[in-house]
Amino acid sequence: MAQLTKGETGEWETVIGMEVHAQVIAESKLFSGASTKFGADPNSQVSLVDAAMPGMLPVLNKYVVEQAIKTGLGINSKINRTSVFARKNYFYPDLPQGYQISQFDQPIVGEGKIEIDLKDGSVKEIGITRMHLEQDAGKSLHDQHPTKSYVDLNRSGCALMEIVSEPDIRGPEEAAAYISKLRMILRYLGTCDGNMDEGSMRADVNISVRKPGDELGTRAEIKNVNSVKAVQQSIDFEVARQIEILEDGGEIKQETRLWDPDKNETRSMRSKEEAHDYRYFPDPDLLPLELAQEQIDAIKKTLPELPDEKKHRFIDEFGLSAYDASVLIAERPRADYFEEVAKDRDAKLAANWVINELLGILNKNEQDITDSPIKAEQLGGLIDLIADNTISGKIAKDVFAEMYKTGNDAAAIVEEKGLKQVTDTGAIEAIVDEVISENPDNVEAYKGGKDKLFGFFVGQVMKKSQGKANPAAVNELLKKKLS
């Protein structure tokens, strides 16, 4: 559903296409044997190839190619059996060769699509134009010296995948959903860690606005957008900026703009205004990359179940709501955890406990599910105690809190604290009688037609039983005695 922005002259539609750069998980760089580890001493993870010493030559990393194929398959895209590495020529101190080895007119991955989930529960397809492999640049530090920049080439030559979307995205929410979904898929595949803080994933966002039904407007490209929040904020800012210009009778300049997260604004990168002419041509130090169909098929067999498949399976197999399924599949370890809890148990109950209780407390304490002190098997144990009426749902929450604190099994806690549910009707009846005799006025009022008071009696009984009374039995007995 298109999200429209109201301007002074009517409604505007936002059109967005994204280029996401994702660093490929691999031990070594795209064309050299230097390490890709993050955070090493300056220029310590640099080979003579990465430093573009005279006469040094690139040799392609086989695993990175496999990772790219895996990713291509994961975003439902065509894998091109022949692809070509090309040089993109420009000068910059953190680009040692004076060109970036990339792929231009023959990328390794062609057209595809992914589905994004929107807040209203609907699903939208976003087209993938292509994905190619390329070298990352080094890093320039500008704040170390008043008149100098420092250059560290550790990142230089690390493998990146650039995933280009069609201009199918219609607003900040869709953009956020798109990048989140992409991140999820890459993390499922194990081809990118999706760590946006460390720059493992970053986006360039192409934004234009138009009146619904009009031709595409002129776009601005926003660089350096490296969080989901920044994607949304930069779009909000840019859409407002463009609408304002257009409504004032101005024109949008096709340009590259930089997102400044501190000032919450995009601004023109004047230095990039100079007409670019990258002079792409096939890298003569490399030959075309030819892939065998068998190789692609073999990789296809190793693909894990991907988020969308998993989601649909959770809905179909476990009867979960689309929302619950989406929450559970957001991270692969989370989905795995849930499945272990749900195995041979009431899946909806399991989903409730994982989503509402476990994720609730983990989020509160900024923990991942992999850090959870309660293991899946233990949470399953708690659910078993609820299912066989050993404890009530209410008591279970207390037991859960204790499990989180101590890491102990549910049964042990219930045993130790004597939390077993009272199902003995005789014992419950005694408490019911007690409550009735202590509250003659309310009994009178209830019998006089104040039906709402029923809850009061239930509450009193539960309180007296310290929550251990079986609620069904309490209801039944109260109804009988108050009638």
């Binding site: 010493m53 005279p54 006469g55």
Partner: protein, 493 residues
């Protein structure tokens, strides 16, 4: 003049093995010869200390019975091969003082076989030229002199290597050939030069000019010596993605003298307008020698030959413009500061590169730029395919092609300088094989009326250097080229 410096590599290896002399003696003789021919300006960097140390070690290895295939043989190394700890410049100011921290694969293989390095030879800057007149470190002078005794070019780009081998200052040398940079100077200097198939020798550690054309090769004074050198230099290198996983045959063993089973093609398009009569005659003579030795001579056609030079002068500068982008003053080499970063780049590159390099970078940048890429670069790659297919078709009718190596003998320094295209035309017979990646050998076959050497070129199919050596060996035998450069014979007299 010492007999040691006039020997072939093959004979020197025998002499070393039979202890007629030591590697140190052989090396010292060449160091002395280098000093005597210093006015040729063949070297950018001489490394006599390294040479003597290597020679001492070589003698020890031989003593211990562990001598390698080229143990104790003093060689000159083109200053395009990066040599660990020894300045490597590509004859460019921009790399003056650059000390590689690595050894090129080809030189590492030579040294592993026991070869001794006398020094780094001058070349046209970044291997761009045909006269060695585009070196930041000055012109190299051909040891041969015409009747007017003017200084002549040694050819290029590997002019220093060719000149010093001809002047008996080194037993052999490495070169690189992009469009004729081994074969043309070999012809100009009266020695043998072999460019193998593209992909035969590793380019790792060789400063790139045009990656899809560059190929290391060898200079020596005999076909057999070239074969010995190439055997050491060749072989697959996993560090070079364009290096082929092909077995390296025993090239020297291919020189059997027997070419009775061979068909030799004479490409008619090489008979160009204005070809000097002497060269046409020598070519004819070469064909007759081969015929007399039992080969069959056939006429073949390479119809796109005339477009090879223009194709080359699009592809090579295009690749070069990108390959030379790394010389930016940031990580190594000369830096000329400026007001800002951009000015630093522009100052560094405009003061670091010579005119011919700048011209080629400009042409290369232009033909790759938006709006011209298809018209020039893609067009040239299409013609490249046609040229390559011409050879494939020709080799359906013959086993080897015989052509002149160059359209003229060595010319005077200063000639052809007014017009870059005139200089480019020197490579008219060598460029087509480069474009197709084919092996070619130039063998000295005679002298012109001015007393200057002329070479004949043998081109074969990809990976068939053996046939090139075999045919080259027969030309060598028939030509029995024994003339010495005048500068040497005068000194001897």
């Amino acid at each position: 003049m010492s007999d040691l410096t006039h020997m072939s590599i093959a004979d020197a290896l025998k002499g070393l093995e039979s202890k007629d002399f030591t590697a140190v003696e052989l090396t010292q003789a060449h160091i002395d010869a280098m000093a005597a021919t210093k006015d040729l300006n063949a070297f950018v960097t001489e490394t006599p200390e390294i040479a003597l140390k290597q020679a001492e070690e070589s003698d020890k290895r031989r003593e211990a019975g562990k001598a390698g295939a080229l143990d104790g043989i003093p060689l000159a190394i083109k200053d395009l091969f990066c040599t660990e700890g020894v300045q490597t410049t590509a004859s460019s100011h921009i790399l003056e003082g650059f000390i590689p921290q690595y050894e090129s694969t080809v030189t590492a293989k030579l040294f592993a076989d026991g070869a001794v390095m006398l020094g780094k030879t001058s070349l046209d800057e970044f291997a761009m030229g045909s006269g060695n007149t585009h070196s930041y470190f000055g012109n190299v002078i051909n040891p041969w002199k015409g009747s007017d005794a003017k200084d002549l070019v040694p050819g290029g780009s590997s002019g220093g290597s060719a000149a010093i081998v001809a002047a008996r200052g080194a037993m052999g040398a490495t070169g690189t050939d992009t469009g004729g940079s081994i074969r043309q100077p070999a012809s100009f200097c009266g020695i043998t030069g072999m460019k193998p198939t593209y992909g035969r020798c590793s380019r790792w550690g060789v400063i790139s000019f045009a990656s899809s054309l560059d190929q290391p090769g060898a200079f020596a004074r005999s076909v057999e010596d070239c074969a010995l050198l190439l055997n050491s230099m060749a072989g697959h290198d996993p560090k070079d993605s364009t290096s082929a996983q092909k077995d390296v045959p025993n090239f020297a063993a291919a020189i059997t003298g027997d070419i009775k089973d061979l068909k030799i093609g004479i490409p008619k398009e090489y008979r160009m307008d204005g070809m000097p009569e002497e060269i046409a005659k020598l070519w004819q003579q070469g064909a007759e020698w081969l015929k007399d030795s039992g080969a069959e001579i056939v006429d073949v056609s390479l119809p796109h030959t005339k477009y090879a030079l223009a194709t080359y002068y699009i592809i090579a500068p295009a690749e070069a413009s990108s390959n030379l982008a790394r010389y930016d003053g940031v990580r190594y080499g000369q830096r000329v500061e400026g007001e800002d970063l951009r000015e630093m780049y522009e100052n560094t590159r405009s003061q670091g590169f010579g005119d011919e390099v700048k011209r080629r970078i400009m042409i290369g940048t232009y033909v790759l730029s938006a709006g011209y890429y298809d018209a020039y670069y893609i067009k040239a790659q299409k013609v490249r395919r046609l040229i390559s297919e011409d050879f494939t078709k020709a080799f359906e009718q013959c086993d080897a092609l015989l052509t002149p190596t160059a359209p003229s003998a060595a010319f005077a320094i200063g000639e052809n300088e007014d017009d870059p295209i005139k200089m480019y035309l020197n490579d008219v017979f060598t460029v087509p094989a480069s474009i197709a990646g084919l092996p070619g050998i130039s063998v000295p076959a005679g002298l012109d009326s001015n007393g200057l050497p002329l070479g004949l070129q043998v081109i074969t199919k990809a990976w068939d250097e053996e046939t090139a050596f075999r045919v080259g060996g027969v030309i060598e035998e028939k030509a029995s080229f024994t003339a010495l450069p005048q500068t040497l014979s005068q000194k001897a007299a």
